[in-house]
Symmetry: C2
Subunit: 148 residues, 2 copies
Amino acid sequence: MAKRTSLEGAECPVARSVEAIGDGWSLLIVRDAFDGIRRFGEFQRNLGMAKNILSTRLRSLVANGIFDLVPASDGSAYQEYVLTEKGKGLFPLIIGLRQWGEAFFFEEGEAHSRLVDRESGRPLQALEPRAEDGRLLGPEDCVRIAAE
Amino acid sequence: MAKRTSLEGAECPVARSVEAIGDGWSLLIVRDAFDGIRRFGEFQRNLGMAKNILSTRLRSLVANGIFDLVPASDGSAYQEYVLTEKGKGLFPLIIGLRQWGEAFFFEEGEAHSRLVDRESGRPLQALEPRAEDGRLLGPEDCVRIAAE
DNA sequence: GAAACCGGTTTTATATTGCAACTACATAAT
DNA sequence: ATTATGTAGTTGCAATATAAAACCGGTTTC
């Protein structure tokens, strides 16, 4: 997307999020991070992406406070990319991507990787937007109001 | 991201989703659609993006079954882009982007647009991944298992 | 009937991507 | 100790995508 100057400092939270991770590779990198990937080479092999791009993406993710660069946990002289609290905050988003993909891009019975609750081994509940009082909300039940 | 050949037909639902909407503009277009935007010119003015890019994005979103192109509802000879059921399925994802943005990109008290429940006028509950039995799940409580 | 509007496409310049080669340092093998 | 291999990048270059502006044919408004 390159410049997208119209979005800098936007008053819409969606726009700011998109500014930080609204790019396919970044989302996949974060997905992998949730699966325990931490090292540059692991990301690179796993995603099959060019190293220079991975390099710039990771730099940007670190700059955006989504990853921290810390000394490797295996005692080697290398470093690891670990999710910050902000990065972990993307968990529902990645779940959302996964559930939407499962619902609309796979045939019945078509094999795909699954994300399961470690304790029960069963899939998660579908994410559902709800009102404060618990009512289930669809797109038509919501209104966006501009910044005051 | 251009080619990303490594992702075509991926067995990971996240990857397929990213293939379809993992691009900043597409996400913002969908966000606007949830706010009731339907016409080419509305999207263009609203997002401040180049018309040629909007054109290719909308074409791709239609090709991916996220929007339908239908005759304009005002009786004019023009057409409108309306979300399909699949497109509406992105609602939780957009909420996820919004809530993450609100949580991590705004200072306390900093003004931003809000999405509220139409009935109560109050903000939504935070999206929370849960196990089937209702337990709240964090990233550490989940495991990804490969396609069988 | 003229002027403005709508929904694009075309053109052109610039920025980003992706690949392959290269580098510097760390670790492992002989 | 020397050599090989692995890690984590960077650099150069060609291909591709993006952005801005001009253009264009039908539509609606005046």
